[in-house]
Amino acid sequence: MMRRILAWTLCGSLLSPLILLVVLSLARHWTWPRLLPAELQARQWQDLIADASTLGPIVLRSLGIGTGVAILATALGFFSSRSVARHPRQGPLLALLHLPFAVSPVVLGVSLLYLFLRLHLAGHLAGVMLAHLIFAYAYAVILLSGFWTPKMRALEEMAVSLGAQRWQLWLEVLMPLARPLLLVCLFQAFMISWFDYALTLLIGDGQISTLTVALYQYFSSGDIRLAATCALLLLAPPLLALLMNQRLLSATVVTALEAHGG
């Protein structure tokens, strides 16, 4: 009985952030000390939709950056991960891949800004994408190196001994086998870019506005209702993925374990 109560309490606390965001995004007057808003309205959503000329391009830009980064990171990461998994110095390479995460996006952003300014990449979409790619690519290689098991090597050798060309090996053997993991990688790499704030702020030099930047602006201007509405937009892709396929999010746990030999 106690376990059941604990499980339901945990379920409630896990759901509460989402409920709070929805209520905030629909609240009209929510004055102290009311526990619930006196009135609900769709005004915030209407404002966001009416502001489509501003927010629309921001959402599209965020989606574009995320999609581009995800495709590049997954494609490059797939090939690199094979080399890493079979490299005699796999340990140091994995350490190298973890460096961007350990050093923090702010430090990396600050350190790269001067270089990006020199290369005329700061304040441009390409610069922001390249900065996101550093993190997304490292993550993709860590995630995908788990695919290259001894069994996969045996399959590769079998395909080659049966006369498969190099392109056939990749397109007809390896990629179909890796497809579920590649999907997970695409999604996770997209999320790295979609959720980023610090790198976009620094490398974007205030000229590239994404959904996270917009959310921060609403928040710092004191408009919590619009910030909550914006937050729900930010949560939409991962929540959709969670509803469709839990595996897309559970990969985070698997990657953490595999990368650290758990």
């Binding site: 050093v103 430090v107 600050v110 790619l133």
Partner: protein
């Protein structure tokens, strides 16, 4: 015939995309912070480094970041261990199975926003306190955000990290057959508490320690959460770096670069030490 080994282009790409930006960034930071490049460049000087190293705020901020990272991780781990032991297989059943993934869909920026709405003086917790008659006015509610104690930072991080650790521990428990090991301990006469403390805890701790070390570094360098709910002073290292970097006075920029260089070296050093010690452990395990 050449004996030189061909460099794998994919490993080359990996080095270029990871070590490249870090090395280039580090190089530029060192040049900028020593007055060799930048708008205020007047030739080599260690003035900015001396100023940053002598500034108490540098060390306070580093220590504060480490404390916030350690407390957030410790609290999350304690909570995850307790919930995993209490709920066991229930974590993989019913609604809980899917809901545990929900916080992974929440970015730190949104977690900080939610912390404000929950823990603020007129937030939901304060309203609940009013509803049960503990307080009359918002000012009577203890200040939890923007304080030195970092309650807001810890709360937001614990909210984000605990479900991840819970899933991790659950997976590890199955991978390491902890339930079976505990069963053996119980049949050999161990009490439930002894089985938990002497079997489950050390096995899981040993298995998840490397992930936790990396997580500690990530939390230590956190930016969005301390920016939104952290105190002005002391501030976490990422916030301090960004603040000095973005100040109107360009004279603080070389100092920001010096500070960022110190933190980058520290974090990279810790990470490399972690991987080196793990490699050493593996070699010793194989030798045994």
């Amino acid at each position: 015939m050449s004996n030189r080994r061909r460099v794998d282009p994919w490993i080359g790409l990996l080095v270029v995309l990871t070590a490249g930006p870090l090395t280039a960034g580090m190089g530029f930071m060192l040049l900028y912070s020593t007055g060799l490049i930048g708008l205020l460049a007047n030739g080599f000087t260690l003035r900015y480094w001396a100023r940053v190293l002598a500034d108490g705020q540098t060390w306070i901020s580093l220590a504060y970041s480490a404390c916030m990272g350690a407390i957030s991780l410790g609290a999350s781990l304690g909570l995850a261990f307790t919930l995993q032991a209490a709920l066991g297989a229930r974590l993989r059943a019913g609604a809980l199975r899917g809901l545990l993934f929900l916080p992974m869909a929440i970015p730190p920026l949104v977690a900080a926003l939610l912390s404000v709405e929950l823990l603020g003086n007129a937030g939901l917790v304060a309203r609940l306190a009013h509803a049960v008659g503990w307080i009359e006015r918002p000012e009577e509610f203890p200040t939890l955000l923007y304080t030195r104690s970092g309650v807001g930072i810890i709360f937001a991080h614990v909210t984000l990290v605990t479900p991840f650790l819970l899933l991790l521990l659950d997976r590890l428990a199955r991978h390491e057959s902890v339930a079976e090991l505990e069963q053996v301990a119980r049949t050999l006469g161990a009490s439930r508490w002894q089985a938990w403390r002497r079997v489950r805890l050390p096995v899981l701790w040993r298995a998840c320690a490397p992930v936790l070390s990396v997580y500690f570094l990530v939390l230590m360098g956190a930016y969005e959460v301390p920016l939104l709910v952290g105190a002005q002073y002391p501030s976490m290292i990422s916030v301090l770096i960004q603040r000095r970097f973005s100040q109107f006075d360009l004279g603080t920029r070389p100092e920001a670069y010096a500070l960022a260089s110190i933190y980058a070296c520290l974090a990279a050093g810790l990470l490399l030490a972690l991987f080196a010690s793990r490699a050493k452990h593996r070699v010793l395990e194989r030798a045994e």
